[in-house]
Subunit: 236 residues, 2 copies
Amino acid sequence: MEKKYNILLVEDDASLGYLLSEYLKMKNFDVIWEKNPTKVMGLIQSNRFDLAILDVMMVEMDGFTLAADISKKFSNLPFIFLTARSLKIDVLKGFSLGALDYLKKPIDEEELVVRIFTLLERLNKGTSTDKEKEMFEIGSYRLNSSTQELIFESEMTHLTSRESDLLKYLASHPNTLCHHKNILETIWGNDDYFNRKSLNVFITHLRKYLAKDPSLKIENVHGKGFILKTDLGKNN
Amino acid sequence: MEKKYNILLVEDDASLGYLLSEYLKMKNFDVIWEKNPTKVMGLIQSNRFDLAILDVMMVEMDGFTLAADISKKFSNLPFIFLTARSLKIDVLKGFSLGALDYLKKPIDEEELVVRIFTLLERLNKGTSTDKEKEMFEIGSYRLNSSTQELIFESEMTHLTSRESDLLKYLASHPNTLCHHKNILETIWGNDDYFNRKSLNVFITHLRKYLAKDPSLKIENVHGKGFILKTDLGKNN
DNA sequence: AAATAAGATTAATGAAAAGTTAATAAGATG
DNA sequence: CATCTTATTAACTTTTCATTAATCTTATTT
Protein backbone atom coordinates (compact mmCIF):
# COMPACT_ATOMS: atom_id res chain seq x y z
CA MET A 1 0.00 0.00 0.00
CA GLU A 2 2.25 2.68 -1.29
CA LYS A 3 1.38 6.29 -1.07
CA LYS A 4 -0.34 7.67 -4.16
CA TYR A 5 1.05 10.96 -5.32
CA ASN A 6 -1.13 13.68 -6.83
CA ILE A 7 0.30 15.16 -9.98
CA LEU A 8 -0.82 18.18 -11.93
CA LEU A 9 0.16 17.98 -15.59
CA VAL A 10 -0.11 21.24 -17.51
CA GLU A 11 0.28 20.49 -21.22
CA ASP A 12 -1.67 22.02 -24.07
CA ASP A 13 -0.50 19.55 -26.65
CA ALA A 14 -3.27 16.98 -26.83
CA SER A 15 -1.35 13.92 -27.88
CA LEU A 16 1.60 14.38 -25.54
CA GLY A 17 -0.72 15.29 -22.69
CA TYR A 18 -2.79 12.21 -23.22
CA LEU A 19 0.22 9.97 -23.52
CA LEU A 20 1.88 11.25 -20.39
CA SER A 21 -1.17 11.37 -18.19
CA GLU A 22 -2.15 7.82 -19.13
CA TYR A 23 1.34 6.57 -18.56
CA LEU A 24 1.57 8.24 -15.18
CA LYS A 25 -1.80 6.86 -14.16
CA MET A 26 -0.64 3.43 -15.18
CA LYS A 27 2.29 3.93 -12.86
CA ASN A 28 0.00 4.57 -9.93
CA PHE A 29 0.03 8.33 -9.83
CA ASP A 30 -3.13 10.36 -9.44
CA VAL A 31 -3.00 12.70 -12.40
CA ILE A 32 -4.98 15.74 -13.31
CA TRP A 33 -4.23 16.88 -16.83
CA GLU A 34 -5.02 20.51 -17.54
CA LYS A 35 -4.81 21.73 -21.12
CA ASN A 36 -5.47 25.33 -20.36
CA PRO A 37 -2.72 27.03 -18.36
CA THR A 38 -4.95 29.93 -17.38
CA LYS A 39 -7.10 27.59 -15.35
CA VAL A 40 -4.21 26.19 -13.38
CA MET A 41 -4.27 28.59 -10.45
CA GLY A 42 -7.89 27.75 -9.74
CA LEU A 43 -7.13 24.07 -9.89
CA ILE A 44 -4.34 24.34 -7.39
CA GLN A 45 -6.59 26.32 -5.12
CA SER A 46 -9.11 23.51 -4.96
CA ASN A 47 -6.88 20.43 -5.09
CA ARG A 48 -3.91 19.16 -3.22
CA PHE A 49 -0.96 18.33 -5.46
CA ASP A 50 2.40 16.87 -4.67
CA LEU A 51 3.99 18.06 -7.87
CA ALA A 52 3.23 20.11 -10.97
CA ILE A 53 4.65 19.29 -14.38
CA LEU A 54 4.64 22.35 -16.59
CA ASP A 55 5.21 22.59 -20.31
CA VAL A 56 7.29 25.63 -21.13
CA MET A 57 5.87 26.39 -24.56
CA MET A 58 2.14 26.73 -24.46
CA VAL A 59 -0.05 28.85 -26.67
CA GLU A 60 -2.17 30.56 -24.07
CA MET A 61 0.51 31.14 -21.52
CA ASP A 62 4.22 30.82 -21.02
CA GLY A 63 5.19 28.01 -18.64
CA PHE A 64 7.70 30.27 -16.95
CA THR A 65 5.20 32.93 -16.02
CA LEU A 66 2.88 30.22 -14.80
CA ALA A 67 5.66 28.86 -12.61
CA ALA A 68 6.33 32.32 -11.26
CA ASP A 69 2.67 32.69 -10.36
CA ILE A 70 2.58 29.31 -8.72
CA SER A 71 5.64 29.84 -6.60
CA LYS A 72 4.33 33.24 -5.59
CA LYS A 73 0.97 31.98 -4.38
CA PHE A 74 1.68 28.34 -3.59
CA SER A 75 5.32 28.38 -2.72
CA ASN A 76 5.23 24.90 -1.27
CA LEU A 77 4.11 23.22 -4.48
CA PRO A 78 7.16 21.78 -6.20
CA PHE A 79 7.27 21.85 -9.98
CA ILE A 80 9.35 20.67 -12.89
CA PHE A 81 9.53 21.83 -16.47
CA LEU A 82 9.00 19.92 -19.65
CA THR A 83 10.14 21.48 -22.85
CA ALA A 84 10.89 21.15 -26.52
CA ARG A 85 13.17 24.13 -26.41
CA SER A 86 16.52 23.13 -25.12
CA LEU A 87 17.98 26.58 -25.24
CA LYS A 88 20.51 26.88 -22.53
CA ILE A 89 19.10 30.15 -21.33
CA ASP A 90 15.78 28.43 -20.73
CA VAL A 91 17.28 25.70 -18.61
CA LEU A 92 18.96 28.29 -16.44
CA LYS A 93 15.79 30.32 -16.23
CA GLY A 94 13.83 27.23 -15.29
CA PHE A 95 16.06 26.40 -12.38
CA SER A 96 16.32 29.98 -11.25
CA LEU A 97 12.53 30.03 -10.98
CA GLY A 98 12.82 27.19 -8.52
CA ALA A 99 12.16 24.16 -10.70
CA LEU A 100 13.30 20.86 -9.29
CA ASP A 101 14.08 19.46 -12.72
CA TYR A 102 14.05 20.47 -16.35
CA LEU A 103 13.35 17.76 -18.91
CA LYS A 104 13.84 18.08 -22.61
CA LYS A 105 11.62 16.53 -25.24
CA PRO A 106 11.53 13.92 -26.53
CA ILE A 107 10.58 12.69 -23.10
CA ASP A 108 11.14 9.11 -22.25
CA GLU A 109 8.11 8.27 -20.16
CA GLU A 110 9.89 5.72 -18.08
CA GLU A 111 12.67 8.13 -17.24
CA LEU A 112 10.12 10.80 -16.42
CA VAL A 113 8.43 8.47 -13.97
CA VAL A 114 11.66 7.55 -12.28
CA ARG A 115 12.73 11.16 -11.96
CA ILE A 116 9.38 12.20 -10.58
CA PHE A 117 9.17 9.32 -8.21
CA THR A 118 12.64 9.70 -6.70
CA LEU A 119 12.04 13.42 -6.45
CA LEU A 120 8.82 12.95 -4.52
CA GLU A 121 10.28 10.29 -2.31
CA ARG A 122 13.14 12.57 -1.47
CA LEU A 123 10.81 15.45 -0.71
CA ASN A 124 8.69 13.30 1.53
CA LYS A 125 11.53 11.66 3.34
CA GLY A 126 11.41 13.95 6.30
CA THR A 127 7.66 14.10 6.66
CA SER A 128 6.22 10.71 5.91
CA THR A 129 7.07 7.73 8.01
CA ASP A 130 9.75 6.41 5.75
CA LYS A 131 9.08 2.84 4.91
CA GLU A 132 11.17 0.51 6.93
CA LYS A 133 14.03 -1.30 5.37
CA GLU A 134 14.23 -4.87 6.46
CA MET A 135 17.36 -6.30 4.92
CA PHE A 136 20.70 -4.95 6.05
CA GLU A 137 24.18 -5.68 4.85
CA ILE A 138 26.58 -5.51 7.72
CA GLY A 139 30.06 -6.37 6.56
CA SER A 140 29.86 -9.99 5.45
CA TYR A 141 26.74 -10.50 7.51
CA ARG A 142 23.18 -9.97 6.44
CA LEU A 143 20.40 -9.14 8.80
CA ASN A 144 16.79 -9.82 8.04
CA SER A 145 15.14 -7.66 10.61
CA SER A 146 11.67 -9.06 10.06
CA THR A 147 12.61 -12.70 10.61
CA GLN A 148 15.36 -11.62 13.03
CA GLU A 149 17.89 -13.78 11.27
CA LEU A 150 21.54 -12.96 11.06
CA ILE A 151 23.31 -14.72 8.22
CA PHE A 152 27.03 -15.21 7.86
CA GLU A 153 28.08 -17.19 4.82
CA SER A 154 25.85 -20.20 5.19
CA GLU A 155 25.38 -20.04 8.92
CA MET A 156 22.20 -18.61 10.28
CA THR A 157 21.63 -17.32 13.79
CA HIS A 158 18.34 -16.39 15.27
CA LEU A 159 18.38 -13.09 17.11
CA THR A 160 16.02 -12.05 19.87
CA SER A 161 13.85 -9.01 19.26
CA ARG A 162 16.04 -6.70 21.27
CA GLU A 163 19.17 -7.92 19.57
CA SER A 164 17.64 -7.56 16.16
CA ASP A 165 16.19 -4.13 16.87
CA LEU A 166 19.45 -2.86 18.22
CA LEU A 167 21.50 -4.22 15.36
CA LYS A 168 19.00 -2.80 12.92
CA TYR A 169 19.28 0.58 14.57
CA LEU A 170 23.05 0.55 14.40
CA ALA A 171 23.08 -0.81 10.87
CA SER A 172 20.83 1.92 9.60
CA HIS A 173 23.33 4.48 10.86
CA PRO A 174 26.65 2.83 10.01
CA ASN A 175 29.83 4.67 10.95
CA THR A 176 27.78 7.25 12.74
CA LEU A 177 27.57 7.94 16.41
CA CYS A 178 24.31 6.64 17.83
CA HIS A 179 23.58 8.35 21.11
CA HIS A 180 22.41 5.92 23.73
CA LYS A 181 19.66 8.34 24.56
CA ASN A 182 18.22 7.94 21.07
CA ILE A 183 18.75 4.20 20.98
CA LEU A 184 17.01 3.76 24.29
CA GLU A 185 14.14 6.03 23.44
CA THR A 186 13.43 4.34 20.14
CA ILE A 187 13.91 0.74 21.22
CA TRP A 188 13.22 0.71 24.93
CA GLY A 189 10.84 3.65 25.01
CA ASN A 190 12.68 5.57 27.65
CA ASP A 191 16.17 6.29 28.83
CA ASP A 192 16.89 5.41 32.44
CA TYR A 193 19.66 3.88 34.49
CA PHE A 194 18.51 0.29 34.17
CA ASN A 195 17.81 0.39 30.47
CA ARG A 196 21.32 1.65 29.94
CA LYS A 197 22.59 -1.39 31.77
CA SER A 198 20.42 -3.48 29.55
CA LEU A 199 21.77 -1.80 26.46
CA ASN A 200 25.29 -2.69 27.52
CA VAL A 201 24.34 -6.32 27.81
CA PHE A 202 22.97 -6.35 24.29
CA ILE A 203 25.99 -4.58 22.91
CA THR A 204 28.02 -7.43 24.32
CA HIS A 205 25.71 -9.92 22.62
CA LEU A 206 26.03 -8.19 19.26
CA ARG A 207 29.78 -7.99 19.52
CA LYS A 208 29.87 -11.73 19.97
CA TYR A 209 27.65 -12.32 16.97
CA LEU A 210 29.65 -9.98 14.76
CA ALA A 211 33.03 -11.32 15.79
CA LYS A 212 33.45 -13.43 12.67
CA ASP A 213 34.00 -10.41 10.46
CA PRO A 214 37.09 -8.62 11.76
CA SER A 215 36.27 -5.54 9.71
CA LEU A 216 33.26 -4.92 11.90
CA LYS A 217 33.41 -3.28 15.26
CA ILE A 218 30.98 -1.72 17.65
CA GLU A 219 32.86 1.13 19.23
CA ASN A 220 31.88 3.09 22.27
CA VAL A 221 32.22 6.83 22.63
CA HIS A 222 32.50 7.40 26.33
CA GLY A 223 29.43 9.04 27.73
CA LYS A 224 27.82 9.43 24.31
CA GLY A 225 26.89 6.18 22.62
CA PHE A 226 27.99 3.58 20.12
CA ILE A 227 29.24 3.42 16.54
CA LEU A 228 28.98 0.44 14.24
CA LYS A 229 32.13 0.66 12.16
CA THR A 230 31.99 -1.22 8.92
CA ASP A 231 35.18 -0.24 7.15
CA LEU A 232 38.04 -0.95 9.45
CA GLY A 233 41.45 -1.65 8.00
CA LYS A 234 40.63 -0.66 4.46
CA ASN A 235 42.20 2.72 4.60
CA ASN A 236 44.06 2.80 7.84
CA MET B 1 30.12 35.29 2.48
CA GLU B 2 28.72 32.33 0.63
CA LYS B 3 29.40 28.78 1.57
CA LYS B 4 31.89 27.01 -0.63
CA TYR B 5 30.83 23.53 -1.60
CA ASN B 6 33.29 20.66 -1.80
CA ILE B 7 32.86 18.56 -4.89
CA LEU B 8 34.46 15.26 -5.77
CA LEU B 9 34.68 14.72 -9.51
CA VAL B 10 35.45 11.16 -10.59
CA GLU B 11 36.27 11.18 -14.27
CA ASP B 12 38.99 9.20 -16.00
CA ASP B 13 38.81 11.11 -19.23
CA ALA B 14 41.59 13.66 -19.00
CA SER B 15 40.17 16.39 -21.17
CA LEU B 16 36.61 16.31 -19.84
CA GLY B 17 37.85 16.03 -16.30
CA TYR B 18 40.09 19.03 -16.71
CA LEU B 19 37.41 21.06 -18.38
CA LEU B 20 34.79 20.36 -15.75
CA SER B 21 36.99 20.76 -12.72
CA GLU B 22 38.33 24.07 -13.97
CA TYR B 23 34.88 25.32 -14.78
CA LEU B 24 33.52 24.32 -11.40
CA LYS B 25 36.44 25.95 -9.64
CA MET B 26 35.77 29.11 -11.62
CA LYS B 27 32.25 28.98 -10.30
CA ASN B 28 33.50 28.98 -6.72
CA PHE B 29 33.31 25.28 -5.95
CA ASP B 30 36.12 23.47 -4.21
CA VAL B 31 36.85 20.61 -6.56
CA ILE B 32 38.94 17.51 -6.19
CA TRP B 33 39.26 15.69 -9.47
CA GLU B 34 40.13 12.02 -9.18
CA LYS B 35 41.01 10.11 -12.33
CA ASN B 36 41.30 6.75 -10.71
CA PRO B 37 37.98 5.40 -9.40
CA THR B 38 39.70 2.81 -7.22
CA LYS B 39 41.15 5.59 -5.11
CA VAL B 40 37.84 7.25 -4.46
CA MET B 41 36.86 5.48 -1.25
CA GLY B 42 40.11 6.54 0.40
CA LEU B 43 39.57 10.10 -0.72
CA ILE B 44 36.12 10.22 0.76
CA GLN B 45 37.41 8.84 4.00
CA SER B 46 39.89 11.65 4.40
CA ASN B 47 37.97 14.57 2.94
CA ARG B 48 34.60 16.11 3.44
CA PHE B 49 32.53 16.39 0.29
CA ASP B 50 29.12 17.85 -0.31
CA LEU B 51 28.58 16.01 -3.58
CA ALA B 52 30.24 13.42 -5.80
CA ILE B 53 29.99 13.53 -9.58
CA LEU B 54 30.62 10.10 -11.04
CA ASP B 55 31.26 9.14 -14.62
CA VAL B 56 29.45 5.92 -15.46
CA MET B 57 31.86 4.56 -18.01
CA MET B 58 35.35 4.35 -16.67
CA VAL B 59 38.07 1.92 -17.61
CA GLU B 60 39.17 0.84 -14.17
CA MET B 61 35.79 0.65 -12.55
CA ASP B 62 32.14 0.97 -13.34
CA GLY B 63 30.57 4.15 -11.98
CA PHE B 64 27.57 2.17 -10.79
CA THR B 65 29.55 -0.18 -8.60
CA LEU B 66 31.45 2.78 -7.27
CA ALA B 67 28.17 4.45 -6.38
CA ALA B 68 26.98 1.30 -4.66
CA ASP B 69 30.15 1.23 -2.57
CA ILE B 70 29.81 4.87 -1.70
CA SER B 71 26.22 4.66 -0.61
CA LYS B 72 26.98 1.61 1.45
CA LYS B 73 29.79 3.17 3.41
CA PHE B 74 29.07 6.86 3.17
CA SER B 75 25.34 6.91 2.86
CA ASN B 76 25.15 10.62 3.55
CA LEU B 77 27.26 11.64 0.56
CA PRO B 78 24.95 12.59 -2.31
CA PHE B 79 26.05 11.79 -5.83
CA ILE B 80 25.03 12.33 -9.43
CA PHE B 81 25.96 10.49 -12.60
CA LEU B 82 27.54 11.75 -15.75
CA THR B 83 27.45 9.56 -18.78
CA ALA B 84 27.91 9.16 -22.48
CA ARG B 85 25.62 6.18 -22.56
CA SER B 86 22.06 7.31 -22.65
CA LEU B 87 20.61 3.86 -22.50
CA LYS B 88 17.31 4.03 -20.75
CA ILE B 89 18.15 1.09 -18.53
CA ASP B 90 21.18 2.99 -17.25
CA VAL B 91 19.17 6.03 -16.30
CA LEU B 92 16.82 3.86 -14.31
CA LYS B 93 19.67 2.01 -12.70
CA GLY B 94 21.34 5.27 -11.83
CA PHE B 95 18.32 6.59 -10.01
CA SER B 96 17.60 3.29 -8.32
CA LEU B 97 21.10 3.43 -6.86
CA GLY B 98 20.14 6.68 -5.23
CA ALA B 99 21.56 9.23 -7.63
CA LEU B 100 20.13 12.71 -7.33
CA ASP B 101 20.53 13.40 -11.02
CA TYR B 102 21.69 11.72 -14.18
CA LEU B 103 23.26 13.90 -16.84
CA LYS B 104 24.01 12.85 -20.38
CA LYS B 105 26.99 13.93 -22.39
CA PRO B 106 27.59 16.26 -24.07
CA ILE B 107 27.42 18.16 -20.81
CA ASP B 108 26.72 21.82 -20.89
CA GLU B 109 28.92 23.14 -18.13
CA GLU B 110 26.65 25.98 -17.29
CA GLU B 111 23.67 23.68 -16.93
CA LEU B 112 25.75 21.32 -14.83
CA VAL B 113 26.64 24.13 -12.47
CA VAL B 114 23.06 25.26 -12.13
CA ARG B 115 21.81 21.75 -11.47
CA ILE B 116 24.52 21.09 -8.92
CA PHE B 117 24.04 24.38 -7.19
CA THR B 118 20.27 24.20 -6.85
CA LEU B 119 20.63 20.61 -5.70
CA LEU B 120 23.10 21.51 -2.98
CA GLU B 121 21.12 24.51 -1.87
CA ARG B 122 18.02 22.35 -1.57
CA LEU B 123 19.89 19.71 0.39
CA ASN B 124 21.29 22.24 2.78
CA LYS B 125 18.08 24.07 3.35
CA GLY B 126 16.96 21.86 6.19
CA THR B 127 20.32 21.28 7.76
CA SER B 128 22.06 24.62 7.61
CA THR B 129 20.14 26.48 10.26
CA ASP B 130 19.66 24.02 13.07
CA LYS B 131 22.40 21.49 12.54
CA GLU B 132 25.82 22.20 13.92
CA LYS B 133 28.87 21.78 11.82
CA GLU B 134 30.61 18.60 12.75
CA MET B 135 33.61 18.27 10.46
CA PHE B 136 36.54 20.62 10.87
CA GLU B 137 39.67 20.99 8.81
CA ILE B 138 42.61 21.89 10.98
CA GLY B 139 45.77 22.10 8.94
CA SER B 140 46.37 18.62 7.64
CA TYR B 141 44.16 17.21 10.35
CA ARG B 142 40.46 16.65 10.24
CA LEU B 143 38.23 16.55 13.27
CA ASN B 144 34.95 14.73 13.34
CA SER B 145 33.43 16.32 16.38
CA SER B 146 30.57 13.86 16.43
CA THR B 147 32.59 10.68 16.59
CA GLN B 148 35.38 12.58 18.36
CA GLU B 149 37.96 11.33 15.91
CA LEU B 150 41.01 13.24 14.85
CA ILE B 151 42.39 12.10 11.51
CA PHE B 152 45.88 12.73 10.21
CA GLU B 153 46.84 11.06 6.95
CA SER B 154 44.82 7.91 7.53
CA GLU B 155 45.88 7.76 11.16
CA MET B 156 42.99 8.04 13.50
CA THR B 157 43.05 9.12 17.12
CA HIS B 158 40.20 9.01 19.53
CA LEU B 159 39.65 12.19 21.48
CA THR B 160 37.82 12.47 24.77
CA SER B 161 34.76 14.67 24.95
CA ARG B 162 36.63 17.55 26.53
CA GLU B 163 39.46 17.31 24.05
CA SER B 164 37.05 17.20 21.15
CA ASP B 165 34.92 20.04 22.44
CA LEU B 166 37.92 22.22 23.07
CA LEU B 167 39.49 21.55 19.70
CA LYS B 168 36.16 22.18 18.05
CA TYR B 169 35.90 25.49 19.85
CA LEU B 170 39.36 26.57 18.78
CA ALA B 171 38.88 25.30 15.24
CA SER B 172 35.72 27.27 14.81
CA HIS B 173 37.64 30.43 15.67
CA PRO B 174 40.97 29.83 13.93
CA ASN B 175 43.62 32.51 14.22
CA THR B 176 41.45 34.34 16.67
CA LEU B 177 42.04 34.93 20.33
CA CYS B 178 39.73 32.73 22.37
CA HIS B 179 39.40 34.14 25.85
CA HIS B 180 39.58 31.45 28.48
CA LYS B 181 36.56 32.97 30.09
CA ASN B 182 34.50 32.20 27.01
CA ILE B 183 36.00 28.77 26.50
CA LEU B 184 35.35 27.82 30.09
CA GLU B 185 31.84 29.14 30.13
CA THR B 186 30.82 27.33 26.97
CA ILE B 187 32.54 24.03 27.61
CA TRP B 188 32.87 23.77 31.38
CA GLY B 189 29.85 25.83 32.24
CA ASN B 190 31.67 28.22 34.52
CA ASP B 191 34.99 29.91 34.90
CA ASP B 192 36.84 29.28 38.13
CA TYR B 193 40.36 28.63 39.31
CA PHE B 194 40.23 24.87 39.02
CA ASN B 195 38.62 24.77 35.61
CA ARG B 196 41.36 27.04 34.35
CA LYS B 197 43.87 24.50 35.56
CA SER B 198 41.88 21.85 33.77
CA LEU B 199 41.85 23.87 30.58
CA ASN B 200 45.63 24.08 30.68
CA VAL B 201 45.87 20.33 30.90
CA PHE B 202 43.70 19.92 27.83
CA ILE B 203 45.64 22.52 25.89
CA THR B 204 48.70 20.38 26.53
CA HIS B 205 46.86 17.33 25.26
CA LEU B 206 45.81 19.10 22.06
CA ARG B 207 49.30 20.41 21.42
CA LYS B 208 50.57 16.85 21.55
CA TYR B 209 47.92 15.64 19.12
CA LEU B 210 48.54 18.47 16.68
CA ALA B 211 52.32 18.21 16.75
CA LYS B 212 52.51 16.34 13.46
CA ASP B 213 51.60 19.40 11.45
CA PRO B 214 54.29 22.04 12.08
CA SER B 215 52.10 24.74 10.56
CA LEU B 216 49.71 24.41 13.47
CA LYS B 217 50.26 25.95 16.84
CA ILE B 218 48.18 26.71 19.88
CA GLU B 219 49.56 29.94 21.26
CA ASN B 220 48.89 31.49 24.61
CA VAL B 221 48.20 35.16 25.15
CA HIS B 222 49.24 35.80 28.67
CA GLY B 223 46.30 36.45 30.90
CA LYS B 224 43.83 36.40 28.01
CA GLY B 225 43.45 33.05 26.36
CA PHE B 226 44.55 30.89 23.43
CA ILE B 227 44.84 31.13 19.66
CA LEU B 228 44.86 28.22 17.26
CA LYS B 229 47.20 29.39 14.52
CA THR B 230 46.75 27.60 11.26
CA ASP B 231 48.81 29.69 8.90
CA LEU B 232 52.21 29.97 10.47
CA GLY B 233 54.87 31.39 8.21
CA LYS B 234 52.41 33.70 6.58
CA ASN B 235 52.93 36.51 9.02
CA ASN B 236 55.88 35.44 11.10
C1' DA C 1 67.11 40.95 39.61
C1' DA C 2 63.70 39.41 42.74
C1' DA C 3 59.11 38.48 43.45
C1' DT C 4 54.82 37.05 41.85
C1' DA C 5 51.54 35.34 38.77
C1' DA C 6 50.34 32.58 34.80
C1' DG C 7 51.16 28.78 32.05
C1' DA C 8 53.08 24.08 30.87
C1' DT C 9 53.74 19.41 31.76
C1' DT C 10 53.46 15.03 33.90
C1' DA C 11 51.52 12.10 37.02
C1' DA C 12 48.14 10.51 40.66
C1' DT C 13 43.41 9.98 42.03
C1' DG C 14 38.81 8.64 42.14
C1' DA C 15 34.33 8.44 40.30
C1' DA C 16 31.57 7.22 36.55
C1' DA C 17 30.91 4.47 32.51
C1' DA C 18 31.40 0.39 30.06
C1' DG C 19 32.16 -4.64 29.71
C1' DT C 20 31.15 -9.24 31.10
C1' DT C 21 29.04 -13.14 33.12
C1' DA C 22 25.62 -15.04 35.74
C1' DA C 23 21.22 -15.08 38.18
C1' DT C 24 16.46 -14.03 38.25
C1' DA C 25 11.93 -13.09 36.72
C1' DA C 26 8.41 -12.92 33.45
C1' DG C 27 6.13 -14.90 29.41
C1' DA C 28 5.34 -18.08 26.15
C1' DT C 29 4.87 -22.87 24.62
C1' DG C 30 3.65 -27.35 24.72
C1' DC D 1 2.67 -27.69 35.18
C1' DA D 2 7.27 -28.11 33.42
C1' DT D 3 10.23 -26.20 30.06
C1' DC D 4 12.20 -22.92 27.14
C1' DT D 5 13.06 -18.35 25.72
C1' DT D 6 14.05 -13.80 26.64
C1' DA D 7 14.72 -9.38 28.99
C1' DT D 8 16.08 -7.46 33.07
C1' DT D 9 18.71 -7.04 37.11
C1' DA D 10 22.69 -8.05 39.88
C1' DA D 11 27.42 -8.57 40.95
C1' DC D 12 31.75 -7.75 39.70
C1' DT D 13 35.86 -6.27 36.85
C1' DT D 14 38.00 -3.25 33.84
C1' DT D 15 38.52 0.96 31.50
C1' DT D 16 38.07 5.70 30.73
C1' DC D 17 38.53 10.30 31.74
C1' DA D 18 38.09 14.82 34.15
C1' DT D 19 40.00 16.65 37.93
C1' DT D 20 43.45 17.65 41.19
C1' DA D 21 48.12 17.82 42.70
C1' DA D 22 52.90 18.51 42.23
C1' DT D 23 56.60 20.39 39.88
C1' DC D 24 58.76 23.12 36.61
C1' DT D 25 58.97 26.97 33.13
C1' DT D 26 57.89 31.31 31.33
C1' DA D 27 56.05 36.01 31.68
C1' DT D 28 55.15 40.37 34.03
C1' DT D 29 55.87 43.78 37.38
C1' DT D 30 58.39 46.58 40.49
